[in-house]
Symmetry: C2
Subunit: 216 residues, 2 copies
């Protein structure tokens, strides 16, 4: 298809598509004349992912480029491509290394992951810690700094719930046919389901609050 059709089918303006092409977020089409190129379903899929990352995930263009580079790295197996792509997603502020709460939070996070039997992304097992692990440390440190300390046994039910969520996430991903589509879907769904989860949690809390604290 030509640029105009790619624009119509993706809902992305031609100006924005050209910007994504210039920024390397979208791979070039197959040149057919000096001024025209041909695009395919792969471009359409990639555009969907770019919009998920940039428009919904509010991910900076540079980070999006890293995520996409990881997805395209054919030297890596599916698991590694996925891990590298999620690794490149933004994860909020890093833990404050000077704060004593950070060290305590790191011990809590490690104890939690030990209990769960999760080994991914920790210093003891990998060359460097995963951003998601650092994000967890920051969150635990913040809770304790603000006077809402959380014990490891308080965190465990959250982690167990997320284990079930991850199974659901990967079941959705495996509905896509090719490994390429699967890693793209995995990254997009990681980002796009975050507001789904957070809104459902608030609605569930309201139900549970009514159950416990009454009112009609």
């Amino acid at each position: 298809m030509r640029l105009a059709e790619l624009s119509t089918r993706s809902g992305v303006s031609t100006t924005t598509i050209k910007y994504y092409l210039r920024e390397g977020l979208l791979h070039p089409g197959r040149r057919i004349t000096a001024t025209q190129a041909e695009y395919d379903e792969g471009h359409l899929r990639r555009l969907r992912l770019v919009r998920a990352l940039i428009q919904v995930g509010r991910i900076p263009v540079n980070s999006a480029r890293e995520v996409l580079a990881a997805l395209q790295d054919e030297d890596l197996d599916r698991n590694k491509r996925l891990g590298t792509a999620v690794w490149a997603l933004p994860h909020g502020p890093a833990p404050d290394a000077d704060d004593p709460a950070t060290e305590a939070a790191r011990r809590s996070a490690d104890e939690l992951l030990d209990r769960l039997g999760w080994s991914y992304g920790r210093k003891s097992c990998e060359a460097t810690t995963a951003p998601a692990y650092e994000m967890l440390v920051t969150a635990i440190a913040t809770l304790s700094r603000l006077g809402y300390p959380c014990a490891v046994r308080d965190l465990e039910p959250y982690a167990r719930a997320m284990e079930r969520i991850a199974v659901t996430d990967l079941d959705l991903v495996e509905r896509y046919e090719t490994p390429d589509e699967q890693v793209e879907a995995a990254v997009a769904l990681t980002v796009l389901y975050e507001p789904v989860l957070l809104s459902l949690r608030r609605l569930a809390e309201a139900e549970e609050s009514r159950r416990r604290f009454g009112g009609k």
Copy 2:
């Protein structure tokens, strides 16, 4: 305690405390001389919550003021105070009313909530829909607009997981003694546990991905 001690114990600078007082985010202390006031544990607790909302939740000062006003409204019961406070939290962009995907998403959200037996925050039961419900509609519409349509049965496992999370959330809240402390903790923990959940999900996904897609 005096301002200086409130600052030390809360870790919030006196300048920032004075700013919160001026903005009505913190209730005035008990005046003891023309220039000095006495603060108590209630101020300390309130400061913790304000920091959770503003520094961690990145909630604008105006929204934070609304959240706090709801918490203090003694005419409401505990459930309503909590509901009103969570209602005032920011929930991201509203659904795009002109987009046909929004109407379809609203039907999906309604069908999902019917299945779950949740009645909170929907147009059929309340004068106006809850922001968390609108946030859910936006998220579902975005998924479908970007070409990742989700069926109601795909959303249900996420909602069931959030039901369990809400039980854990409210168990934590009920450890606090007074209704005042409970509603404050509920709002703070709603905000502060969001990064905990999202980071644990990414770590859980990495574990599940390794289990399914190999690597060592």
